[in-house]
Amino acid sequence: MKLSGAEILLRALELEGVEKIFGYPGGAVLDIYDRLPFSPLKHYLTRHEQGAAHAADGYARVTGKVGVCFATSGPGATNLVTGLATAQIDSVPVVAFTGNVPTFMIGNDAFQEVDTVGITRPITKHNFLVKDVKELADTVKKAFHIARTGRPGVVLVDLPKDVTRELADFFEEEYKTPVQIRSYKPVLKGHPGQIKRAAKAIASAERPVLYIGGGVVSSGASDLVVKMAEVANIPMTATLMGLTAVPGNHPFFLGMLGMHGTYAANMAIQESDLIIAIGARFDDRVTGKLSEFAPNAKVIHIDIDSAEIGKNRHADIPIVGDAKLVMEELLPEVEKQVAKNREFYAAREKWILKVRSWKERYPLWYEPSDRVIKPQFVIEKIWEVTKGEAIITTDVGQHQMWVAQYYRFRFPRQLVTSGGLGTMGFGVPAAIGAKVGRPDKTVFCISGDGSFQMNMQEIVTAVHYNIPIKVAIINNGFLGMVRQWQGIFYQKNYSQVHLDVQPDFVKLVEAMGGVGLRATKPVEVEAVLKEAMAIDDRPVVIDFIVDREEDVFPMVPPGGALHEMILPSYGKKKEKKAV
C-alpha cells in the first residue's frame, strides 16, 4: 500500500513502540502534523523546542524507552540543539525528527533552512538526512536501533518537506524484521578471560571501592552491582549519573564522589588499591586533579564504549561490554573467588572500619536555622514528604548538588539531572517528560531561581495537559553556584550573579494557570509541601526563599586532588582541612 512520507513516519513510530511525542510544528513539518491527528500517538505541544527535547529526554531517562521529539526546520531545529546535546552527553536514547526545506531547495539558503545535520553532527550519536521517501522507513528503523543499542544516544533524522509528502510503499512485516547495519555491531558481552581476572583482583584487593556511573542505571545492572558489593564487602560510591543505582541508605554506600562528593567517598577513592569503575567515565568533575586521583589504585574499568576505557585513566583490567551482561558473568565469578578465600574478609575488615569512620567523622553537614530556610533543609523535607519515592528532576547549580547530597534515592532512574552538559533550564521540561512517562509517581523538579527562568514557559505546557508536576524553586536571589565560585576563588567579587530583580514567581505561575505557593520561614516548609502534594490536576510551583549565601560543601577546588576538599565548618569546630 502506498503511504505518504508523513504517514510512513507515524506508522513506523507506532511500530517502534512510541506512544508519546514532544514537539512544535512549523512550515517544514506541516505534512507530518496534518496526519498526526489520525495517529494514536499522543503529541505534547511544548512552548519551546528546547522544552520538547528536554521532555523527550526526561521521558527516556525515567522509562528507559526512546524519547521522541519533533521540530520544524531552521529555528525549530536550532532550538533543539541544547536539548539534544544534553541528552547525548548523558547517553540518553532520544530520536529527534526535524523538517527541512524540500530536497530541490537544499543548499539554497531557502527560508528557514539551516544545515541541521551539519549543526547536530557533533552532538548526536548519528544523524540522517533522508533524501528519498523510499529510504524513510529503513532510516527510522535504523535511527531507533542506533539510539537504544550500544552506548545509548541521540539520533536525529532530518526530513525535507517533499520526502514527507511523496508516496512510497510501506510493508509493515518488512519493517518488523531485525535491523542490519553492517558497520555497527556493538560489543555487549564482556571478555570471559578479563572477567576472571577482574574477579581475582576483586577478591585479592585490600581496599577496593566501587565507582558506579550512569551506565549501571541505564543498563539495569544496579541490583547486580549492589549484590556484588554485599558479597565481597566493597564500599560503594557513585557519580551524579549513577546515584540511583544504590539505595541511599545502604550501609556500604558512601554517597557521591567528586567535586561535591562526600568526604568518605573521596577519601575511599584516594586510599583505595582497587577501583572497580562500572559505566563511568572518569570525568573531570569526578577525578579532580587526574594525576593525583587514586594514586595507588589498580583500575578495573567496565564500559560499553571502548573509547572511554583508558581515555582519562589507564585501566589495568579493561572490560568492554554492557554493564548488566558483564555483571551477570562477573558476580558468580566473584562469589566463587570469595568462597575459595574466606580469610580475605579479615583483611578487608580494617578497610571497612576505616571507611566507616570517615563517614561518621565528616558527614554531610549544614548549620541548621530556625530563622532562615536552609536550602538543604528544603531538600530533606521534600525527601520526607515524598517518602523518598518521588522522581526528582533538577536544574543546574547549587540546588542540584544539594539534591545529590541530601535526597536519598531508593530506586534506579529516580534522578533526572543534566550531568555532563550541566544545562540550566532542563528541570521543568524534563519533569514534564518524566511525569508523562511515569504518571504513577510524584515528580518533583528542584530548581533554582536562575534556572527556572530559563524554561519557565513550560509550566504552560503542564497546565495545558494537566500534568501535575511539582516544582521547588530554591530561591537564593543569586546565580548561586557562580556566586560561590566568585566568593571562594575570586575574592567575593560578585559579578553579574545578583537576581534581585525577579518576577513574583507565585503570581507568575498563577498567571500561567498553575498553583503558586511560597515559604519564607523554616516552619512553613513542611506545610507548604503538604499543600503542594495534595494538588493533582495542575502544576504547582513553590517559591522557597532561602539563605542567600549558603555554599555547597565539601568542595574540591578546581585543579585540586580529591582529598584536598574544603569541608563545612561543622559549627564551632572551624574549617577542617582534610589531610
Partner: protein, 176 residues
C-alpha cells in the same frame, strides 16, 4: 607528562560507508577533539559502497589509541587500523612543476628523474612537470633535491597504504 617526547607519525587506515556524512564525521572528530591530521586521502575500494580513508596523524601512543577508538565509534565506520608498525605498501603521488630555464638545469632534473624512477609528464619552454610515486621518504628526498631548481607549483596526494600480503593477514580485526 612526557607525552611530547614520543610523538610520531602514524598511518591509519579506515574503511567506511561511502556516505557524505561519514567523511564529515571523521574530519570533525579531528577538529573537535583537537587531533592533527597531516594528510587524508579518500577513495573507493573494490566495493564502491565502501571507501578507504588513509590518514596520517601525529601523536603519542595514547593519542593515537584514542583516535583509533574514537574512529571506531562512528556508526558508518567498519574497520580502523593503525598500520604504522605493519609491513605495508605505502605510496604517495607527487606532481611538481620546476623551473628549467637553462640546459644545465634541464640536465640535472632529468638525472634526478631517472634516479628516482619519476617521469616528466608535461613540458613548457622553461618548466618540466614531474610525476613521482613512492613512499613518503622518497618523495621528501626528491623534493629536497629538486627544490634548488625553483618549484613553481606542486601537489601531493597524501599517503595511501595497504598491508603486505606476505604477512598473512588482510585488513585485520573487526571494529570493536
Amino acid at each position: 607528562m612526557d607525552r611530547k617526547c614520543d610523538q610520531r607519525k602514524h598511518i591509519i587506515s579506515v574503511l567506511v560507508e561511502n556516505q557524505p556524512g561519514a567523511l564529515a564525521r571523521i574530519i570533525e572528530l579531528f577538529s573537535s577533539r583537537g587531533y592533527n591530521i597531516e594528510s587524508l586521502n579518500v577513495g573507493h575500494t573494490e566495493d564502491p559502497s565502501i571507501s578507504r580513508i588513509t590518514m596520517v596523524a601525529k601523536g603519542d601512543e595514547h593519542t593515537i589509541e584514542q583516535i583509533v577508538k574514537q574512529l571506531r565509534r562512528i556508526i558508518d565506520v567498519f574497520k580502523v587500523r593503525d598500520l604504522t608498525d605493519k609491513k605495508k605498501l605505502d605510496r604517495e603521488l607527487l606532481i611538481v612543476r620546476v623551473n628549467v630555464e637553462t640546459p644545465e638545469k634541464k640536465e640535472e632534473v632529468m638525472r634526478l628523474v631517472e634516479i628516482f624512477g619519476a617521469q616528466v609528464v608535461d613540458v613548457s619552454k622553461d618548466t618540466y612537470t614531474v610525476e613521482l610515486t613512492g613512499d613518503e621518504d622518497q618523495v621528501d628526498a626528491f623534493l629536497e633535491l629538486i627544490k634548488p631548481m625553483g618549484i613553481r607549483e606542486m601537489a601531493r596526494t597524501g599517503r595511501v597504504a595497504m598491508v603486505r600480503a606476505l604477512q598473512g593477514e588482510t585488513f585485520g580485526e573487526q571494529k570493536e
